[in-house]
């Protein structure tokens, strides 16, 4: 029901592929020529570290970095791009799988996807990863792009008092008005919040209450929460292709770790606020560290065996991304800055960005042992930082909404960027490219080399100045008359006129001795 594999490709893509399909032998991806070249001059193209593989401004992909994932879904060594697409205006959620520039499959989703993740469920061959999509209170798991399993979050325990009240209502032992009063009392004080049913009941007019109670009294009250974020955590091996658990963050301020095979809750941790971004390192069975950026602007760091956060980073702004680079937690804040923190929450550095950060992700170049953080900005730039140092700036024509870097097709280092208008950009890192510090901007700000915008003086001004010098005394008479009666010009001639002694502010024309 929730998955209907679509066999046909979108028509406009087929057309374009037929029209001009170009084969890049070295890249291993069938790529059509980009319909529109980037606004980059040929010279910068040559010196750039990136090859422009594909740009489709009308790809119609609206998503977040959390819903982008690169994975070898079929186990054939050809990596696909999985997109949990919100659809235009968040109206038509879809699961899209892209191969090269083309959409391989597209299927509607029952609700908006909050996060997508690929993970290995079990050890046996073929080791094809499963795809998990978190949406509402459920995680939908796919294998080989076929629906495999649906996990729903366990129901939250209802408030016992509330339950009791509805029980009484069911047996008609309580009238609606008393019920309302009692429920309001619970809402004022209780630790456990009321269910949606009770809250709705509290809003009703007295005339509607009776009908509402009759309609709903037979139902048991339920409290359901939703998933806000999801990530994966290796179960017991650090290998790249080791079995991983899913880690879920929920709206009721909890973190859940799921068993990869049985989908039981292995561990539950609670947070002081609702998690928005998660970053995990380590293995579940050995030792792990979990960083959760939360809605209250704090980042909480937990470890195995800690039910509550060990450390807390107060950002005094909203985090917009959380990435771990080696041992440093890099956090982007909505005050346009990137911060680096240790795992104990000590601030290491801060870098200011030229525009609002919209999304962040990790860039990992294994062959060179490089890990860096990518930040997608509202001005269309993707900035790549290793700690404080700016390594590279990739410019795109629109605000960057999601980012992903990794193996795509058969190409190891591919950058996937989606833009606010729904565009899709695929860039390939040249194999010869080496990131060096200062590769971005360095040295004095460019404004320093700009000419000062100085008001120019005209010929007329010069003439007037000369005239004032010639006839300053005469022309100023009426002016100084304001302050004193004019005096006949009986002073000595200019030759002998006394220029007073000079001090710094007095420009002496003739510091001749006054004697």
């Amino acid at each position: 029901m929730f998955y209907t594999p679509s066999s046909e490709l979108p028509t406009h893509l087929i057309l374009r592929n037929q029209l001009r399909q170009v084969f890049f032998p070295s890249l291993g991806i069938h790529l059509p020529r980009p319909p529109q070249l980037f606004p980059s001059s040929p010279s910068s193209e040559a010196s750039s570290k990136w090859l422009d593989a594909h740009y489709d401004p009308m790809a119609n992909i609206h998503t977040f970095s959390a819903c982008l994932e690169l994975a070898d879904l079929h186990g054939d060594g050809e990596y696909k791009l999985v997109v949990g697409d919100l659809g235009p205006g968040g109206q038509q959620p879809r699961l899209k799988v892209l191969k090269g520039p083309t959409v391989l499959s597209e299927s509607p989703l029952p609700a908006l996807p909050a996060a997508a993740a690929t993970f290995l469920m079990e050890q046996h061959e073929p080791r094809t990863p499963a795809l998990a999509l978190a949406s509402g209170p459920c995680v939908y798991v796919y294998k080989n792009l076929r629906p495999y399993f649906k996990f729903s979050l366990p129901q939250l325990p209802p408030n016992p008092l509330e339950q009791d009240l509805w029980h009484q209502a069911k047996e008609d032992r309580i009238d609606p008005l008393t019920l309302k009063e009692m429920l309001e009392g619970i809402r004022e004080k209780a630790e456990v919040p009321l269910s949606a049913q009770s809250l709705r009941f509290l809003q009703l007019e007295p005339s509607e209450m009776e009908a509402f109670v009759n309609q709903h009294k037979s139902k048991s009250i339920r409290r359901q929460t939703v998933i806000t974020t999801m990530t994966t955590l290796k179960k017991n091996l650090a290998d790249e292709d080791a079995v991983s658990c899913l880690v879920l963050g929920t709206e009721n301020k909890e973190l859940l770790v799921l068993d990869p095979e049985a989908f039981t809750v292995l561990a539950k941790m609670s947070l002081p606020s609702v998690p928005v971004f998660l970053e995990v390192s380590g293995q579940f069975d050995v030792e792990f560290r979990l960083a959760a950026a939360c809605r209250n602007g704090n980042i909480y760091i937990l470890r195995r065996d800690s039910k509550r956060p060990r450390y807390c980073i107060e950002l005094s702004a909203q985090p917009v991304g959380l990435v771990r680079v080696h041992k440093v937690l890099v956090v982007g804040s909505n005050r346009d800055s990137l911060h680096g923190f240790t795992h104990k929450g000590k601030r290491l550095w801060t870098v200011q960005m030229p525009a609002a950060i919209l999304t962040m992700n990790l860039l990992e170049q294994r062959s060179r042992g490089l890990q860096a953080v990518m930040a997608g900005l509202a001005n269309g730039e993707v900035r790549i930082h290793r700690d404080k140092a700016l390594l590279s700036v990739v410019r795109t024509p629109d605000a960057v909404t999601s980012l992903c870097f990794g193996r795509y097709g058969r190409e190891d280092h591919t950058l996937i960027v989606t833009t606010r208008g729904g565009g899709l950009i695929i860039k390939i890192l040249k194999r010869t490219a080496v990131f060096v510090e200062g590769g971005g901007e360095a040295g004095p700000p460019p404004a320093q080399a700009m000419k000062l915008n100085m008001p120019r003086k005209t010929r007329l001004y010069v003439d007037q100045t000369l005239r004032e010098r010639e006839a300053g005394t005469a022309s100023s008479r009426p002016a100084s008359a304001l302050c004193a009666p004019p005096q006949p010009c009986t002073g000595p001639s200019r030759q002998t006129s006394t220029c007073c002694a000079s001090g710094p502010p007095v420009p002496t024309r003739r510091p001749s001795s006054p004697a």
Binding site: L452, R456, C500, P507
Partner: protein, 519 residues
Amino acid sequence: MAEQRLVTRTQFPASAESLKPRLKKAPEFPILEKQNWLIHLHYIRKDYEACKDVIKEQLQETQGLCEYAIYVQALIFRLEGNIQESLELFQTCAVLSPQSADNLKQVARSLFLLGKHKAATEVYNEAAKLNQKDWEICHNLGVCYIYLKQLDKAQDQLHNALHLNRHDLTYIMLGKIHLLEGDLDKAIEIYKKAVEFSPENTELLTTLGLLYLQLGIYQKAFEHLGNALTYDPTNYKAILAAGSMMQTHGDFDVALTKYRVVACAVPESPPLWNNIGMCFFGKKKYVAAISCLKRANYLAPFDWKILYNLGLVHLTMQQYASAFHFLSAAINFQPKMGELYMLLAVALTNLEDTENARRAYTEAVRLDKCNPLVNLNYAVLLYNQGEERGALAQYQEMEKKVNLLKDSSSLEFDPEMVEMAQKLGAALQVGEALVWTKPVKDPKSKQRTTSTSKAASFQQPLGSNQALGQAMSSAAAYRKLPSGAGGTSQLTRPPSLPLEPEPTVEAQPTEASAQIREK
């Protein structure tokens, strides 16, 4: 667990059924928080339009019960400036979940922004009961108390906030309190701690630098301003302050290169154009100087420092009539400064209005306490008028001031001034040569002389932190202008018409920026 297994192990057909709850008799209630995550993501990405759409949808679906949607809507209202609406919505949130300190904090914040500081403190105190250990509550309470002029309480709260969790903002507010109390040393102490805590915060570095500048500790001031510029080479305040210090030392080219950055970022800043003008003055590009100063004057017509500088430059240009106008305008805004009257007197003397010049000198001498130049100029005028006794009195007054200055600081005097004084002394047949014990060796060092000798007298009471930057920069700029004039006073001849449109201005940038890069 078994029940959960049941739920979780249900395969898709079953889940498909659960996806159509509307078919049942009693409608299922939508999960209230269903799209909170999406609202939040849109909000932090500043995509407010999309955010509002989701909020609207969510509120429609839940009939206004979704607290977080209302909360974010209120935040957006506040960002858009509709503070009253935001306040009402936050109050709705507080009704929906009365136990949440966060809602109360936001209510208080909106009250604060509406200027209802008293009410805000009450709500914050309420929130503090729900959450004891929140630095934000303490900090904001402190800020409210500042506005209520209860500085002691404010300090307490801010120290509490620092105790709970250290934040740059709290340090800044504490420093502000000390500045409001006029306690520079304490303020510096706080800012020092703050810089220790976050050594890369350019605002803290700049403020600390400016405070040192105000106290005349130039080495440290320059150090901190330089640090600020390392982290943020486009910091407006730091550039202006550092530039003015460079100007004081005669590094006009370097200062100009720095100003170019600011000119791009804040092209309508009066202190900036004033400083640029005085840079050109120092470089003897008088037309350029006048252009820039006139722009500064256009941008801030009531700033007497700019008028002072304009008067000075016009005196140098021998446009005494114009100089007279600018100086008398400056005096209108700043009637308490001896130097201004002296300059006015010089202009009047050159306009051959000796009577008024004398009056101006009298006023100058009355107001000035430490600048020997005022008395010297007056003495010369009196001497030229044939009033040797008056001249002698002024000359002795000058000697007193010179001796005072010599004692208080190891300054050197402008050689031209010394020379003139000696000549006058000889003419008045006064025993001489004792006063000027330090002959000037290096013509460059003289530039510092007069500027620093004046520095002490022109400290202005500086109020808020923001004003401080501006005031300091222009004060510093002003302070150095005598040095510029000192440069011009070397001219023994009328400046050879520097009136041709200046071609050299464009030539400098490259060499100057080269200098910077070498640094």
